[in-house]
Amino acid sequence: MLAKRIIPCLDIDRGRVVKGIKFEDVQDAGDPVEVARKYDAQGADELVFLDITASVDDRPTLFQTVEAVAREIYIPLTVGGGVRNCADVRALLSAGADKVSINTAAVDNPDFVSEAGERYGVQCIVVAIDAKRVSKKKEAPRWEVFTHGGRKATGLDAIEWARNIVQKGAGELLLTSIDRDGTKGGYDLELLRAISDAVSVPVIASGGVGNLEHLYEGLTTGGADAVLAASIFHQGTYTVGEAKQFLAAKGVLVRS
């Protein structure tokens, strides 16, 4: 049977790994190649790189980073951040990415996802959804899609958007709760469950992991196919191996 995946996430800013809290207040967390090599050795199932560099001028730095990492590790590598058109997708795949994550450009032009999927195969097209809970207390839960690192509201309902973009050709969804990101309070399980149930493709849970129980909840209560975490691994609170042992002991199938 298919194993649940544990995916360390590396936020990349001008060639360095960083970790922000609620998409702001960024701290340095190391050299991407060293960090990637460490997680590969620990048994990470995949790696995700999100380029959070604001300036387009720094794109070549990202390609160099991706190339350097892809030379070192033999597990799947997803790269996202600033992917706007098929030329960007192609450049990242050529640099050594196995999958490309599209966020803002998918909202601006959903047909881009179809085009990229047709050209490069849907298996390498991940759509990142950053969602924020917008319902008031006692209302039925509702989440809205945000872009631009969580700063710009789109008016799109997150569940409806997830369904639509999968129909357009997204091969996988990377779902981040903006409310939880960096809080260490756990995933937004209600959001995760709603999206995971709404689509036929794998969902990666992101945003809010503070301990191993949170990973377990995401994969069980939340119904995620994979869990993504950054700070618990970067800060050395847990290794990927420890996370897998914990999950396996609770009956979750992980790659050993």
Partner: protein
């Protein structure tokens, strides 16, 4: 010097496959090419592939590589990976049905779509992630690879070879399917050895050493 040719028909990322083969090939040279002449000079060939089967067959035909694959498959050690495995069957149901290279009798079918009721534990398509391969018959490819080892998969279609003797390994997803097939000097994997860490590297190393004669 021995050369391994990766058949480049313009689909997918051959970067990671190329560097993985370079790492295990020792003194062997790795050639990535769409030139039939160049490829025929290689001692062994790899047919990789991602994307849709119709486009894949169209590009192989346009570059006159389909004949090369069929001919080379008579003598040279050949390795198919992912879509490169699927086009080795006779027919694929993908893209409304496409005739393929026919190196193995049988067809390629889609996994059933998960029910839309959001039931827990329903199996999603694509089959994406790490799954085990049970070795159903001995083969030099398996040397140093433990039975039920984990490999990385990404696919929505899978091979259904009609000759059970061609099945080398099976994987369980929705139902059991053939994840590794082989006959004579051809071997093919549905999973990506170049993305499957140590066991994947062992398989690629075994292929570079394989002497089917």
């Amino acid at each position: 010097m021995a050369a391994i040719g990766i058949i480049d028909y313009g689909m997918g990322n051959l970067h990671s496959l190329g560097k993985a083969l370079e790492r295990v090939a020792g003194n062997g040279r790795v050639v990535i090419s769409y030139d039939p002449e160049e490829l025929l000079k290689c001692d062994r060939l790899v047919l990789p592939g991602v994307g849709g089967v119709r486009e894949c067959m169209k590009e192989l035909q346009r570059l006159e590589l389909n004949q090369l694959v069929v001919e080379a498959a008579r003598s040279k050690p050949m390795l198919g990976i992912c879509l490169g495995m699927q086009v080795m069957l006779e027919w694929s149901d993908e893209n409304g049905g496409v005739p393929a290279l026919g190196l193995f009798p049988g067809r390629v079918s889609r996994f059933p779509d998960p029910p839309e009721d959001g039931s827990p534990n329903r199996l999603k398509v694509p089959h994406m992630g790490w799954n085990r391969v049970r070795q159903v018959r001995p083969h030099p490819m398996w040397q140093g690879v433990p039975d039920n080892a984990w490999f990385y998969f990404v696919h929505s279609y899978h091979a259904v070879p009609s000759n059970p003797e061609h099945v080398l390994g099976v994987t369980d997803y929705v139902h059991e399917f053939a994840s590794a097939i082989a006959r004579d000097n051809i071997v093919a994997f549905q999973f990506h050895p170049e993305k499957s860490q140590n066991h994947g590297m062992t398989l690629l190393a075994n292929f570079t050493q394989w002497d089917p004669a």
